[in-house]
């Protein structure tokens, strides 16, 4: 199977602390993959390395089998087709919902700045396309009619969905979601799970998510990677991860593995 993203020995250090330690990861095309781990395990750092916010000290990141992402700036990486959302929602709060999505379109626009002044046919065509496509995305995430609302005035759930719509605007091949269900109630969470699965099925993109809610992780991922203190300690399907004693140890401490694995199984089976 073709890999959308592959990291080889990816390492990021902050002074003496190794936040990401020789992580090898392969994400197959059209997969929904998760990265989990206790707080401070290096999940978000891992995301930041992929998206170019941090430059890793060691290792390689190969995107789509051909592009090496090492040393590229975030905007160049986005242009290659990787989009992301943030753990704490980071919308452009004083822009309207529609404008937020249109900013996401930026990588697709080719006209030069002075074309905006004279409004060349190319610039006008691009603007029209961007607007139409943004309205389509707005509807796709269920925010039709709220396009002219300032992003900061949207309700929480709508902000989460708007952030995803913005990330989808540049037609990414890989979408990174950083805790998409953080702060949501069980209802909203199951809607979000449905929505994420829909994204993959309808748009055919590959999704990598960081998530703390085990119900979400076990419910939608096809591949789970567990990080602890920066290094990968386990990888596999939800079933394999649930039974893995090293994972339980990382979350609950030494000695808990034998006692709890039996109780967790039925809970997971219920999902």
């Amino acid at each position: 199977m073709k890999a959308t993203l592959e990291t080889r020995n990816l390492t990021k250090r902050f002074g003496g602390l190794t936040a990401v330690d020789h992580v090898n990861l392969v994400i197959p095309e059209h997969a929904i993959a998760s990265v989990i781990g206790p707080n401070g395990a290096g999940k978000t750092t891992f995301f930041n390395c992929i998206t170019g916010f941090y430059t890793p000290e060691e290792g390689e990141i190969i995107f789509d089998g051909q592009h090496s992402l090492a040393g590229l700036s975030p905007d160049k990486i986005t242009r290659l087709g990787i989009s992301r959302t943030y753990q704490n929602i980071r919308l452009f709060s004083n822009m309207t919902a529609l404008e937020n999505i249109m900013v996401g379109h930026h990588p697709k626009l080719k006209s030069m700045w002075f074309e905006s002044i004279v409004r060349t046919p190319r610039m006008r065509r691009e603007e029209e396309e961007a607007l139409e496509d943004s309205i389509r995305l707005l509807r796709f995430v269920g925010l039709a009619g709220m396009g002219d609302t300032l992003a900061r005035n949207l309700p929480y759930g709508a902000q989460r969905r708007l952030e995803i719509a913005r990330a989808l605007a540049n037609k990414p091949k890989l979408l990174l979601l950083d805790e998409p269900t953080a702060g949501m109630n069980p209802n909203e969470t199951s809607e979000m799970m449905h929505f994420i699965r829909n994204l993959r099925d309808k748009l055919g993109i590959t999704i990598l998510l960081i998530e703390h809610d085990m119900r979400v992780v076990m419910g939608i991922s096809e591949q789970i990677t567990v990080l602890d203190y920066g290094s990968k300690i386990a990888e596999g399907t939800p079933e394999e991860i649930q039974g893995n004693p090293r994972v339980i140890e990382a979350y609950l401490g030494r000695g808990a593995a034998s006692g709890l694995s039996a109780q967790q199984r039925p809970a997971a089976a219920a999902i």
Partner: protein, 546 residues
Amino acid sequence: MNTTLQKGLRTGTIFGLIILFLYMIGFTTIMSALLGDFLDLKGPSVGAGSVPGLVVLIGLIGLWAGAVASQSGDLSEDTWLKALVGGLAAGVISGLILALLAVVLNSLEDVARIRQYLVQISPQTINLFLLGRETGMAVAPLYLALMTASGLLGAALSRLLGRGRLRTAIASRRDAAEKALFSIPFLKKEEGRRILRLSIFAVLLALLFLMPQRLGQYWNFTLGTVGIYVLMGLGLNIVVGLAGLLDLGYVAFFAVGAYTIGLLTAPQPHGIMWDFWAVLPLGIVIASIAGILLGIPVLRLRGDYLAIVTLGFGEIIRVLARSDLLASFAGGPQGIRNIGGPSLFGNPLNSERAFMYFIIISIILVIFITTRLERSSVGRAWIAMREDETVAQAMGINTYRAKLLAFAIGAAFAGLGGVLFASRNQYTGPEDHSLLVSINVLALVIVGGMGSIPGVILGALALKGLPEMLRQLEDYRILAFGALLVVMMILRPEGLWPSTRRKIEIHTVEEELPPEPVHPRSTDQPVTTRLDTASDVTISTDVREA
């Protein structure tokens, strides 16, 4: 209820003190005379002021106080009772302050000694404040009654005009008018709307071009200065208001423009004496190159650091211009005299009026460019960068290039302003380019409302025009000006005319839609109906501007 009362009392105190302050700096005298003339009020006048004018002025301020006091923070709990209580409290308190002032003024024995400190307090202004009577005791309850009545009236008016928000009332009127207008068959088509829009522009343009003809030399000069500040404000508005880069050395680019025309058209120090029209574009280009050259090293800095570095750069330009080292090149502290002016077919065009026309044309051009940029991907990139630079970069925006562009365009506008300024004054020197210019321009952008073009114009009028109008206050001009700024920032912290985002989504099925779809899938129905209207997308894009 308690909070309403508190707010009323607080507002009343603030407004009462404002009136007190305005009286002490002599503002009430001037304004009462102006109002008396303007409204053609018959009535006794005392000294320079007019008694009915003063009553109207104080009454208007009372209305305002009542309107402000009637608006509680929580909109859903606005009631008539609350509004009236707020207005009443504000009116009574401000009335008491005025009554107290009247009593104090009435019992003043030694006016001459107080005049040493407060020159505006003269027997005449005291008589004016006491409404021309000799007894202050009768006037005190009169003030109390006036303020109470106007406070209540203000509260009632603001309550009537839709939750006290005059702006929403105006907006709904405008929307209704728009709807009525666009139901005319001719205007239903896009061309019809375009013709309407063009004709509105044409009328505005005609008014603007008639204005300098009607104005005298003094006002053409004063408004010309305001216009040059508008130009600079529009430039800085791109840098600070849109792109969010705090530039405290903006005057540097103004200086580059001014010195370019100075060095290339004046007989001293180089005697190059090129034509104005050749140097004008050169000045703009050199200023924007200066913007890029400064931008390349410093735009990697963020926030406060950028502000400090640009502040330094602005000062360096001024210090260099006045240094002995460059005296033979740039004229030193004396500056450059006899800077050339524009001419057309051999006729010199260097009157204040001609320059007023140049400035108006420049402003229109600059507004045109700014609006076009703001409503395109360039403007969206700038605003996104202002909102969150990291995320903007993650959206695929080359933030470094976007910043350089903002700097270069902002510098170009300042350069244009500098060329016009130096050429109009026929002189430029280091003291024209002090830090105060940067601060003034930044202040007018903030006072007007960051990122808003009409805000910049209003801000320039308020900050550069008002001090001219307040010139009669002489010594208290700057004091009054500072007080006005403080009051304004308390009353309208977001600026005189805050920027709003354009509405671009189609607004056809809007009314039937619930305001907040709680469950995304519940909106599926409207979504499909709205798909049919997708062809309208382009029509409503530039008509609606909020």
